[in-house]
Structures are given as C-alpha cells and as structure tokens.
Point group: C2
Chain length 391, copies 2
Amino acid sequence: MSVPAVNLAQTPGGRQYVRLPGPWSLELGGTLPEVTVAYETYGRLNAAGTNVVLVCHALTGDAHVAAHHPGDKPGWWEGLVGEGRPLDTRRWFVVCSNILGGCQGTTGPSSINPATGEPYGLDFPLITVGDMVRVQQALLKHLGVRRVAMVTGGSLGGMQALTWVALFPEMIDQALLFGSPWASSAQAIAWNEIGRHAILMDPNWQDGRYEPGRGPDQGLAIARMLAMISYRSWGDFNQRFGREQVPPGTDPVAERAGKYATMLPAGHPFHMRFQMESYLHYQGEKLVRRFDARTYLYLTRAMDLFDCNEYDQSHWDRAAKAGVRVTAVGISSDILYPAEEVQGLVQELQQRGVQAEYRHLESPAGHDAFLLEAETTGRWIREALAREVPS
Amino acid sequence: MSVPAVNLAQTPGGRQYVRLPGPWSLELGGTLPEVTVAYETYGRLNAAGTNVVLVCHALTGDAHVAAHHPGDKPGWWEGLVGEGRPLDTRRWFVVCSNILGGCQGTTGPSSINPATGEPYGLDFPLITVGDMVRVQQALLKHLGVRRVAMVTGGSLGGMQALTWVALFPEMIDQALLFGSPWASSAQAIAWNEIGRHAILMDPNWQDGRYEPGRGPDQGLAIARMLAMISYRSWGDFNQRFGREQVPPGTDPVAERAGKYATMLPAGHPFHMRFQMESYLHYQGEKLVRRFDARTYLYLTRAMDLFDCNEYDQSHWDRAAKAGVRVTAVGISSDILYPAEEVQGLVQELQQRGVQAEYRHLESPAGHDAFLLEAETTGRWIREALAREVPS
C-alpha cells in the first residue's frame, strides 16, 4: 500500500485513532476503501519493538482494558494492567484495539460509508475474525511492533488470539485464551441468532438506517438479556438473586440508572417482580446506552462463522515451526463455551503439531469468569509472561 | 357450589369440555366467575372411581397425551398410553386436562370474559400452579374419581404433580415427576422473563387485545426460540446440527411448513445460514401457529411463582400421613431444571418427612428428555404403576 497510515487523534482518555489506507479485501469477498482503528496503549514500546502484549476484547468490549491514570474510567480487565500488575507496564507495551465491525471508533456498520456519506448499515460487508486480526496486525506494524510476546483474550477475544496463531504465527510467542472454542458450536450460533432476530424484528430497526439514539433499543436489550444467561450460570444467578423479589412500589433498576425506554411501566401485571428480572433489564438498558445494534449483528455473525477447521495444515505447520505456545483456559461453569469445548480446542491444536496446554478455571461465575475472576486470570497471565524474555 | 357442572361437548378427536361453576377464588386474590375445562380421557373409570392416572402437561402441551385411535393425531407422550402400554388402558383410566390459563379450550386470558364479551387479555387474573391443580381436582370430582394412583408430568407438569402432593395428598397414592424443581430458580425466571418481554414489546401485542391471528407472532416466536435452547443441550445441538449450513438458494424451513411471517427474506445478509438457525425459526413458527401469546405470559409467570416453600409443614405432614410416595427424575443434561435441582427437591421432601426417591435419567437430550426418551420414561411409569393395586 503506497498511501501511508494517518494518525488522526488522541483523546485525553487515552484513545488513539489511525487511518489505515485500503482497499481492504475481506475474507468473504467484501471490500472496505479504508479502515480507521481506535486503540489504546499502556507502557512503552522498546527500541526493538518486541516487548508487546496484544489484548483482544470480547463482543461488547472495547480498547479500554484498564484505567490509564487515577480517576480514569475503569476498564474491563481493571487491575491487570499497570506498574507491578500482571501486564506490568514497566516491562510491557500493552495494546488493545477496538475490533473491525465495532462501534467504538474502529470502522464498522455504523461508520460513514465514504461512497455515500451515510452510515453503512447493511451495506457494510460481512466480516470474519480473520479480518479483525488482519486489521490488528496492520495496526501493530504501524506502531512499529516487530514481535508480540503474548496475544490474550476471552470469548471473541480468544477467537482472535487463536486466529493470530493461524495467520501470523511468526510474529507471536504465545497465545493465552479464556473460554473460547475451536469453532462456534450449534448452541453458540443459536444464542446469537435469537439476539439478531430480536434486533431485526424491532420496528426501529428500519433496515439499519436509523439515526443515533433512535435504533432498535428493545431488540438490542432483548439480545443482551438473553446473552446474559449464557455469560453466567444457574448457580451464579441462584446465589446472587435466588427468588428475591423487588419490593412493591420500588423500581431499583430505575433508581440505579434512570428511567428506561425498554421497560414496562410499574403497575403493569407483568412488570418485573423478581430481582433477577431487574438485573436483566438493567443489563439490557446498559448495553443499549453504549452499543450499536448493527455492530451486534456483524460481530455475532463473525463469531458464528469462526471455525479453525478452515485453516489447512500449512498454517499449523508454520505455528509449530515458529514455536508458538497456546494456553487455553476452560471455565468449569461456562455454558456458552463449555470447558470440554476448550479441551477439544487444545486437542485439535496438539493433533496438528502445535504446542498447546489446557488449564481449568474452577469458578461458579460462568463464561464471564474470564472477566470476574481477575485474580486467577491475572496470575496466569503473570506466570505465562514470566517465561518471556523480551529481546 | 350449588350450580352443577355442565358437560359442554365432546369432539370426535376425544376432547371433552365441562363448565365448572364458580366463583373461583384464586391464590393471588383474583376471581373467575366460572371455569371451562377441556380434557381427554383414555380407558374406563372403574365403579369405585379408583383406577386413575392423572397426567399433567407442560407449558405448551395440551390434553392430547396420545392418539385415541389409529389415524388420530399423535400426542406428546405418544406410545405411553393404550392397551399394553405403560399407561395401560385395560387397567387405568387416564385423564389429562388443559391447564387453567391455557389456550386449548380451558379458561385462560384468550377466553371471553363474560363480564365484557371480549377476550380477557390483561384483565385475566394472575394464576398459580396451585390454582391449576384445584381446577384439576374439581374436574376429577366431577368425573367421579375418588382416588388417583399416580399423578405424573414433566417440567410445569411436574410442578403440578408436586402441588398435588401438597394440596390433595389424601387423594393420591404417588407422584412421578420429570425435570421439575422445588421452586423456580433465578435462571428459570430469567428465561421466562426474556420471552415475556419479547412478546410485550412486539408492536402487535396491543395490550393483549389483538384479534385471533393478529397477535405478537414475532415476540412469541422469539420466546419459543430461546426456550428451545433451555429445552435441549449443547451436545444435542452439536450432534444434530453442528455447523451444517443451509444450502444457498434453499429454504428448508419454508419447505417444511410454508412461508413464515416471522422470517427475514432470502437474500437478506442476515438471513439464516446454519441449519441450527433454520431449526429455531421452524420451532418459533410452529408454536405461533398453535399457541396464544397471552397464555405464554400467564403460564410462565405461574412457573416463576412456583415455590413449595410456601406450603407449611402441615401440608407435608398430611402427605406423610397419607403415605404418598414421590419419585423425582433428574435429567443429566437438563440446563433448565438441572439434575442437582431435582435432587434438591427430593431432599426437601425427605426433610419434611415425605417419602421421596431420586432417579437419574442419563440422556444427552436436555430438559426435553422427558418427552424424547419415551422408552425410559414409559418403563419407569410402568414400574411405578406395577406397585399399585386399584381397589
């Protein structure tokens, strides 16, 4: 590509933007004329460009892994990044970028299509995890990164980490995955499809051409509510909510975060009655406020299409030759990507000659344990990085 | 009640109707002026009125347990009722009634409110499993039943069977439950609430005052689709559908059952791509054609409210004194009412002095194993009934 990348801006919160010139040819045949990437970094890149940890976020995550300074907004792996932390910024240059197709600054279906001056909507091409990873790799090149000590992430972030092993094994030392599969299961596809369907059937969907703030909030909230079942567990909900009822006349959800458009009025015979319901509505409404429904469609479809069987043996031979090590963590109570599925991933890699190890995270928290059990997650990151010697 | 019950009709398919005069005072304070019950029977009641098995159906089931004659529509426990079958009609008089709140002929929210001449809609009072069981008991009295050898059912049917133990222990010998809890868990409430929310947010909901065939089909289909995840299992879906794709240009769902109002047009970028999706849409559409969304709201809420802790020890003392035996079957792959929850139910009963036994059904089919593993289910019914000596 002859057109250089352009640094666009850096916000006080630590978010930076770069425009990577195209055209970008996508795996499923689509093209993007250019891609803007929003990302955040922690620590400093060494002169050799080799002290790098790439963190990959999950479906509704973003580049903000942790606060950059006291008073900054906490990140989704808060406590894991900083001086003396598992991702120790005295030693490591930590990078996390908002993924392709997202809605936090990186090009996605809510971005303006340069050809029309309007948001892409459904004109945005279908994307894959491979496309996301190629954009990440171009970002790292732009930043001067030559080698990555570790790629890590959970869920969709783990899918990205595994795809790094398949696509750019010569550039990475190891991958550490939490609760992610070798290929999306039928049930994982089912969860996603129902959420998408709720969005697409919302009268405010309007073929994806809605104005900001006037989108299919009800559908997106339903998608989030049902996803929350898949992210937690039967035992976790029992322990946290049980059969606790919302005291009559109060509306704790509304108290916590204002009045919601997606909720039934108090007094309605089917207004929420249990704390469990209040929690679900709260989670639904919270996502609606920070996330775009179009992105939800495109990213969940990319997850459905994730299938490492599509990479032939030449990819895994390269990974084996490069000496890439994979550690995959299964979570005991994960119903979305069950521990046995993560064990299967390790076996698939081993059968293809790639160094892979399974670790079991015993936790009642469900799939989200990769976010909630930060102490264990952090300890394992620290242990894995202790074996790394940045050149 | 001085007004006698009135036999209303009997259809050629075996469905019978009776009007039970009221007023019916409901557990949560509501009243129904009268209740019509639709039911089906198999075999003949003996002179003493004691050779009775009461079968209780689940959320979207009905009174049609099995075909009444060759060529009749198969029932939801087809193969279990008939001459020489586990529920042997040479010996047993088998009764199943459509439950209160339903939409198959028994009074429910889509029935006409005698006070207004319009469907009840949201004016229908909230009901409980206890209310359903009281209506069943009145039906049995009307039929001349004096003693019930066994009450059996799965899921919501199991909740009814357990409620029989609490409310009418002197009238029954034993209860056989499949995949049902002592009290609805937080996660069970979560599944239900999301389905209800999808219905209530459908623009065709119209406060429940829709014309037949113009209801919230999209919302009800979404409710059904997500319930299907809870009824099956990760392994079951993997085995049946895996990552199999729908061949491009074909639409197997449409081929199976006509064109659906609830689906995206072919060619849409998010039209179903995987067989898993096709199956979900098929299940959603199938329910829409035979079920009413208002009933879905009322019955799921009754399930949420199911909590046997609300029956004080006097109920269980009566059950113990009457010698009622409870057998509760847990299903190994059930994610809706996990086996450990059914084990918990047995412990709760034992702690209260009621004879209770746990049986484990090893099956990959998920919660629906109580429907799908008919051979095992039938064998256990047969074994339990072998101990009965109708007087």
